[in-house]
């Protein structure tokens, strides 16, 4: 299971909203973090989320379970560890 932890603050909320729109499992917030989880791989697109680069490149700052397969200006792909 790939998991990312997203701090419950306004600047990271677009990631949570985007995951919900894409019907990726979102739970929380618990102890201040949302958890976005998916089997196999988790893919996020900066443009789809509407994030500016500075925040985009901190998207995983809440912590993760998995391995980064791609993280560039528009795509973040995390796969099973």
């Amino acid at each position: 299971m790939v998991k990312i932890f997203i701090l419950d603050v306004p600047e990271f909320r677009p990631i949570v909203d985007g995951a919900r729109r894409a019907e990726i499992g979102v739970s929380g917030p618990t102890r201040g973090y949302y958890v976005i989880a998916r089997e196999g791989e988790l893919v996020l697109s900066r443009k789809a989320l509407g994030l500016k680069p500075a925040v985009w490149y901190s998207s995983l700052s809440g912590g993760m379970q998995g391995r980064i397969a791609q993280f560039d200006r528009d795509t973040l792909r995390i796969i099973e560890p």
Binding site: F5, P10, Y33, S61
Partner: protein, 194 residues
């Protein structure tokens, strides 16, 4: 002993080898008041040159200060390089709101100061420009207040980062990616949830 308390920045200081240009930039271009200047015979450490130490008002009781060492050549290691590592040493001033930030941006551009970047960070929206020494200056507006949640998150990030650094050191391998920190933080999150 009780924890002593700080009350904000009085001044920050850096050396300059461009006296006239620095005064012209901060006082005349940016419009900051020159509020204090020390001119002194060299004293203290052996060989300390005569010097000027002068201060420009940057609001809320803070100043930005410079040292000018008379007759002392600029060493290579103090030539500012406009790149990420040198630029980590920079001054960041605060304004109240987005309108004030945009006002500064327009003011600087109108006075011929190139605004190099305008960035929306997590907690601050900032513009960046350089002084005649090449030093990077940031003006930012706080987007939201910091909360207890930010503080807890910061503690966990640094706990994970220090552990990642220690592990790399112990294994004699380079600490070369933030991914190790994020994984460790994820493990701390899972542990807290268990």
């Amino acid at each position: 002993m009780k924890q002593p308390v700080l009350k904000g920045v009085h001044h920050t200081a850096r050396p300059t080898w461009k006296l006239a240009e620095t005064v012209e930039f901060y006082r005349d271009k940016l419009g900051l008041r020159l509020v204090h200047a020390i001119s002194a015979k060299g004293w203290g450490p052996e060989g300390h040159p005569d010097f000027l130490h002068f201060f420009f008002d940057s609001g809320q009781g803070s100043t930005i200060a410079f040292f000018y060492y008379i007759g002392a050549p600029q060493p290579d290691y103090l030539v500012h390089k406009p790149q990420w590592d040198c630029d980590s040493v920079h001054t960041a001033w605060q304004v109240d709101c987005e309108a004030a930030l945009l006002e500064w941006k327009a003011f600087l551009e109108q006075r011929g100061v190139k605004v190099e970047m305008h960035v929306q960070h997590e907690l601050i929206e900032s513009i960046y420009f350089r002084d005649p020494n090449g030093y990077l200056i940031e003006i930012g507006r706080q987007i939201r207040e910091m909360s207890a949640l930010d503080e807890r998150d910061a503690a966990m990030t640094l706990e994970a980062a220090i552990a990642a650094e220690s592990e790399a050191r112990a294994r004699g391998v380079p600490f070369k990616s933030i991914e190790a920190v994020w994984r460790r933080k994820g493990a701390l999150q899972s542990k807290a949830a268990a």
